[in-house]
């Protein structure tokens, strides 16, 4: 069985905007959501800037009752809000908690890169070390178990199909969408909420700061700190949030008259085996190229059909290699590379949520016929200079945009690539 899979709902909480309306507006304007982070300064981080979605606790209080909120850490909150938004955006109703009906055809693959680190650091470790285990109460486990982020959602929406959490570092969100897409294509589910979420916590970011991979050269100018493809790029800016897509079997979507954003043409995931330049922290360029090619082949899409690339591009030394890999995978000369942009230039690197949030950006660009600016790279990196014409420094309208490709590459040398296609009968 091979079903066509479409996107019928979107939900997002990102550093530069919550909800698809504000998020799209910020993307079009090239608005940075990076701000000074007092906690990072207080704790002696080298980097003092981060991208944290604003007003999420107030939002959560309007979505969930007090009992639920007690058991939801920062990752759970953003994941659940984004997923409920995607669900209602698709025209589906949030079920009554007292109604025992289970939706056996709908599931969720909601990933996280790090998980409940804020709960572990602020509760589990200090209380256990102080021999006050009992004081942990009943909510510690559900917040630190990796699958907590998706398990919470199954209760909120009465999901009865597969509900799980994947984790593949920075490719997590893209991988989740790939997995949900395959499940619907194979006829195992009608609808899948897919994407990624990451909480905002200095405990999550401290290890990255220790690795010296976070940007510490723009502490006084937070909005300029995330600089993918720039000659003055100095590391990534950590961020948080969630991005969720509601994927749906085309027949189901048409049957209920749902608004269709686009189709998922195909996808691929792979790993570079920590060979050929790949390692725990660097991608094997051959595996990156194979992943992109495999996704295009899966989508039966020719490289010349690709109208825009929403790349992984984090503002580290890996950027030039990535741009080169895109060009090699598409088999094009540098000057013929399709427009390429980095959502991270505005929101930073949301780790396990990055793929989900950036997939939402990709779908909005495809639906709206534009590519958002990749900010902070007026000084294009010398090795990326041959591709400079493909970088939008301001909004580019692309009214005939048919295909947007999104990829994510993560620690562990893992890759995921998605091909979004304009939907037409």
């Amino acid at each position: 069985m091979s079903n066509r899979v479409v996107v019928t709902g979107l939900g997002v909480l990102a550093a530069n905007g919550n909800g698809i309306h504000d998020f799209e507006l910020a993307l079009r304007k090239g608005q940075s959501g990076i701000r000074t982070n007092e906690k990072m300064i207080e704790c002696g981080f080298g980097s003092h800037v981060a991208g944290v979605p604003r007003g999420t606790d107030e939002l959560a209080e309007s979505y969930f009752d007090e009992d639920l909120l007690r058991a939801m850490n920062s990752g759970h909150r953003v994941a659940s809000i984004a997923a409920i938004d995607a669900w209602t955006d698709a025209g589906l109703a949030r079920p009554d908690p007292a109604d025992d009906t289970v939706d056996w055809d709908s599931g969720a693959i909601l990933g996280t890169g790090i998980g409940g680190m804020d709960t572990i650091a602020s509760k589990v470790v200090p209380l256990t070390d102080a021999h006050k285990v009992r004081r942990l109460g009943s909510t510690a486990v559900e917040q630190v178990m990796a699958s907590g982020v998706s398990a919470r959602l199954s209760g909120l929406l009465a999901l009865g199909n597969q509900v799980t959490t994947n984790s593949s570092a920075c490719s997590t969100g893209s991988e989740a969408i790939s997995m949900g897409f395959e499940r619907i294509r194979n006829g195992q589910a009608e609808r899948m909420l897919c994407g990624g979420a990451e909480g905002a916590s200095h405990y999550i970011w401290s290890g990255f700061d220790a690795m010296r991979v976070l940007c510490r050269k723009f502490n006084d100018e937070p909005e300029r700190a995330s600089r993918p493809m720039s000659a003055s790029a100095a590391g990534f800016v950590p961020s948080a949030g969630a991005g969720v897509l509601l994927l749906e079997n085309l027949e189901s979507a048409l049957g209920r008259g749902a608004r269709i954003y686009c189709e998922i043409g195909g996808s691929a995931v792979n790993c570079g085996g920590h060979r050929g330049g790949g390692s725990m922290t660097a991608p094997n360029p051959e595996s990156v190229q194979r992943c992109i090619k495999a996704a295009l082949a899966d989508a039966q899409t020719r490289p010349e059909e690709v109208g825009a690339i929403n790349a992984h591009l984090t503002a580290t030394g890996a950027d030039p290699n990535e741009v080169r890999s895109w060009s090699l995978a598409l088999g094009c000369q540098p000057q013929d590379l399709p427009p390429i942009t980095s959502t991270k230039s505005m929101i930073g690197h949301a780790l396990g949520a990055a793929g989900g949030i950036e997939a939402v950006a990709s779908v909005l660009m495809l639906k709206g016929g534009f590519i958002h600016p990749s900010i902070n790279c007026e000084d294009v990196h010398p090795e990326i200079e041959p591709y400079a014409a493909s970088i939008p420094h301001s909004l580019r309208e692309l009214p005939y945009l048919e295909v947007v490709v999104k990829a994510g590459f993560g620690f562990g040398d893992v890759n995921a690539c998605l091909v979004f296609r304009k939907w037409s009968e």
């Binding site: 009752d65 007090e66 009992d67 007690r70 908690p97 004081r135 109460g137 009943s138 909510t139």
Partner: protein, 82 residues
Amino acid sequence: MDQTEIFEKVIKILTPYVKNQDALASVTAATHILDDLKVNSARLVDVVLEFEDIFEIEIDDDDVDSVETVGNAVALIESKLG
């Protein structure tokens, strides 16, 4: 502290955990915490921690097993307060 005062404090502590707000409106000592108020059984652990904090008492895990109704909770707290 008299029974009425303990009862009122117990209800205040239970309120955020109650899923059946209608049952809360007509709550009595005989109201069952899990069956009537629909409090998630796992959350009893948190409720007991709050009893300890608010009333400044210590409650053994074995004592908790005897608590089914609001009245049971009030009686247990009263006994601990001496």
